[in-house]
């Protein structure tokens, strides 16, 4: 009985999460049209559903983040303005992108490495987007 109730609550939450993600996607599209790429990516990373097990929610959020990442051009501006708390979330989505095997997503581009120093800070390897390959390969190495 308790399991059925939990499933019912989870289903309600899933619907709420999906509608929130859809609203977020519309906001991301409008930001992309205004060429506010960094804000679009920040919006995509904010409110990522952390504890849900529903694959639809995860996929829906992944599509939104993927759209924002593919639109990115200036990665220096991104990393200078992105809060460090988003690095872990961004890293997870990057590895998810790398695991797809989809060519436009996985094709790597010329890489330039940059590290931030300090205890417990993240080291970031960035790549500059090329004209042909939209998905920038950014690997975040945790520097301890």
């Amino acid at each position: 009985m308790m399991v059925a109730t939990d499933d019912f609550v989870e289903a309600d939450n899933v619907e709420a999460i999906i509608s929130r993600i859809e609203h977020k996607s519309r906001k991301i599209e409008s930001l992309l049209k205004q060429s506010k790429l960094v804000e679009a990516l920040k919006t995509a990373l904010e409110g990522s559903p952390p504890n849900t097990r529903d694959e639809r929610c995860k996929s829906a959020n992944w599509i939104a983040v993927h759209r924002a990442i593919m639109a990115m051009k200036d990665l220096d501006a991104l990393f200078s303005s992105l809060d460090p708390e988003y690095y872990n979330i961004l890293m997870k989505y990057l590895y998810r992108g790398l695991s797809t095997g989809d060519r436009p997503t996985c094709d790597p581009v010329p890489a330039d490495s940059r590290k931030t120093h300090g205890e417990g800070r993240l080291g970031v390897h960035t790549s500059f987007p090329s004209r042909h390959h939209k998905y920038s390969m950014m690997i975040i190495a945790i520097v301890i």
Partner: protein, 169 residues
């Protein structure tokens, strides 16, 4: 080296540098036993989420990490049937001599062509960055080896065919 291969290998190198943080951890199930947890997978709290890095649909690398061991599985590009056969034979040749490599697994993981198993003992005996250099260099060289083998087979085939057909001239 092609740009895309270089960046694929760089991606794998960086991931290995982050993932290869291994420590000694005795088995929780059996007393006085010490087993690579990535192989057993009995305790989920000791395992990290596997990372899959795809260069394209045909080439990929799976990195599975646990507290005391790391498993790297590679799927090598095989463009045609000949490359398929050559890769299979060549990698089987290497796998049968796994003791010489120390970090090579005798049998690859399902769905992959070759697997490495690195434990905390390997990290104690050998330098971490050297191990990573070895893995990356191996991945780079395997493509060259397969290409050379293919060229060698084609060359020999052409020579044999030319010699055989001379008698009909």
């Amino acid at each position: 080296m092609a740009n895309s291969l270089r960046l694929y290998l760089t991606c794998i190198r960086n991931t290995l540098e982050a993932a290869m943080c291994l420590q000694n951890f005795p088995c929780q199930e059996v007393e006085r036993h010490n087993k690579p947890e990535v192989e057993l997978k009995t305790s989920p709290e000791l395992l990290l989420k596997p990372i899959l890095i795809c260069r394209n649909e045909a080439e990929k690398c799976l990195i599975e990490t646990s507290i005391n061991s790391l498993r790297i599985s590679l799927k090598v590009k095989q463009a045609d049937e000949l490359e398929n056969i050559l890769t299979k034979k060549f990698l089987r040749f290497l796998s049968m001599r796994a003791e010489a490599f120390q970090v090579l697994r005798r049998k690859p993981v399902q769905g992959y062509d070759l697997s490495f198993l690195i434990t905390n003992y390997h990290c104690e005996e050998m330098q971490k960055h050297k191990l990573i250099d070895f893995i990356v260099q191996f991945m780079e060289d395997i493509d060259k080896e397969i290409s050379e083998l293919k060229m060698s087979v084609n060359t020999r085939g052409r020579l044999v065919a030319a010699e055989f057909l001379k008698q009909f001239i």
